[in-house]
């Protein structure tokens, strides 16, 4: 299933989790964007260049490659199938679903905050 990735929203959500003291996983913009791209390409090979398209504005040189190796490959969220090509695993899909839930939680929380703000 193809879905658009809203980089600004992902950034907003990551900042929200960082403000709660969660700097890894849902609070890490790079992790979020990588996982969103991988989740979008479920069942297909994700090219490294496609990930870079989204992450370049948030990443220093080499940091995405390092994250792919030390987090995603190490924890078995993706498998490297060719040079610069990854495929998401079932465990990765679980992580991707968790990420979607974290976005839903953020939206719900934001909506409720706004309601309370408007309540005299």
């Amino acid at each position: 299933m193809s879905e658009d990735i809203d980089v600004e929203l992902e950034k907003e959500v990551a900042e929200f989790y960082q403000s709660l003291g969660i700097h890894q996983g849902p609070g890490d913009i790079q992790y979020r964007l990588i996982l969103r791209v991988l989740g979008k390409n479920e069942g297909k090979i994700t090219e490294f260049s496609e990930i870079r398209k989204y992450t370049d504005q948030f990443a220093d040189k080499g940091s995405i490659g390092s994250k792919m190796k030390t987090v995603f490959q190490l924890e078995g969220l993706v498998e490297k199938v060719k040079r610069g090509g990854y495929i998401i695993t079932d465990k990765g899909i679980t992580a991707s679903n968790f990420l979607k839930d974290s976005t839903t939680f953020y939206k719900k929380n934001k909506r409720m905050d706004e309601i309370i703000e408007r309540m005299p």
């Binding site: 409720m112 703000e117 408007r118 309540m119 005299p120």
Partner: protein, 265 residues
């Protein structure tokens, strides 16, 4: 002549005073509110003022019934019907504005309820009312138009009540700090109390029920007061009391030195 009517008049007067006082206190607290909450605040001020304006002529009506003056009684009933039929307008604006956040949408939908109120009044005044039937506790009128009663029930009662219940459900389903839950849920319960029992008050044909409905309207007004200005004992009981503290100035790290004393921890 019966003392029951005087009790009724006293309750109506208490509702009038407490509603106006509450509206005034809310209006006075405008400075403490942000720009985002001001539209909702003013809709609440209007709502409570309309409740007060409904029960002021009703107080005079009860005194008129006690003194045996049916013409004044009818005049005051008609006068009370005007603010009463528009009570739903600020209520709908309040709920929609708080949930949706758009002043425009809330205003347009509220205008629909102005139309409901106006058509209710048109039918009420053109078809007239039958009465008054003065009993030991109350003075009752029968609305002589089925259409007016239907508009009243569907437009002015069912929809706003459903909105309040929906909003309450939204709050109860959400995890939030206790004091915020109290602060948002209790005013809604209070408004619902007042609104629903005002309706019962207006259409009931049983004198005791009218008296009881008015007691509940009074309870609702007091409840609204408690929602905004909870007394200390209630705060302690509900666990919503704000802990008074001062910030610790020295920016030093805590060291877990006691680990040796409590090796198992």
């Amino acid at each position: 002549m019966n003392a029951g009517l005087l009790v009724n008049a006293t309750i109506c007067f208490a509702i009038t005073i407490s509603s106006f006082a509450f509206a005034w206190v809310l209006a006075r607290s405008e400075e403490e509110h942000s720009n985002k909450s001001k539209p909702a605040l003013w809709s609440l001020v209007i709502l409570w003022s309309l409740v007060g304006l409904t029960y002021l002529p009703t107080t005079i009506r009860m005194v008129a019934a006690y003194m045996g003056k049916p013409t004044l009684d009818l005049m005051m009933y008609n006068l009370a019907a005007i603010p009463f039929s528009f009570v739903a307008v600020p209520l709908v604006f309040f709920i929609l504005y708080v949930i949706v956040g758009s002043k425009k949408i809330s205003a347009y939908v509220s205008m629909l309820f102005v139309l409901f109120g106006a058509s209710y009044l048109t039918f009420l005044f053109t078809k007239g009312v039958i009465g008054p039937y003065v009993t030991s506790y109350s003075s009752l009128f029968t609305i002589n138009s089925d259409i007016a009663i239907n508009i009243y029930l569907m437009g002015l009662f069912v929809i706003p009540t459903a909105m309040i219940l929906g909003f309450l459900l939204l709050i109860f389903l959400q995890r939030m700090p206790k004091h915020l839950r109290y602060r948002t849920a209790l005013p809604l319960v209070a408004i619902s109390f007042v609104f629903d029992f005002m309706l019962t008050d207006m259409i009931t044909m049983v004198d005791v029920m009218q008296l009881v409905a008015r007691i509940f309207v009074l309870i609702g007004t007091v409840q609204a007061f408690l929602a905004y200005f909870p007394p200390m004992t209630l705060q302690e009981k509900l666990g919503i009391k704000k802990y008074q503290y001062e910030l610790y100035e020295e920016d030093e790290e805590d060291i877990d030195e006691d680990r040796e004393e409590y090796p198992d921890v």
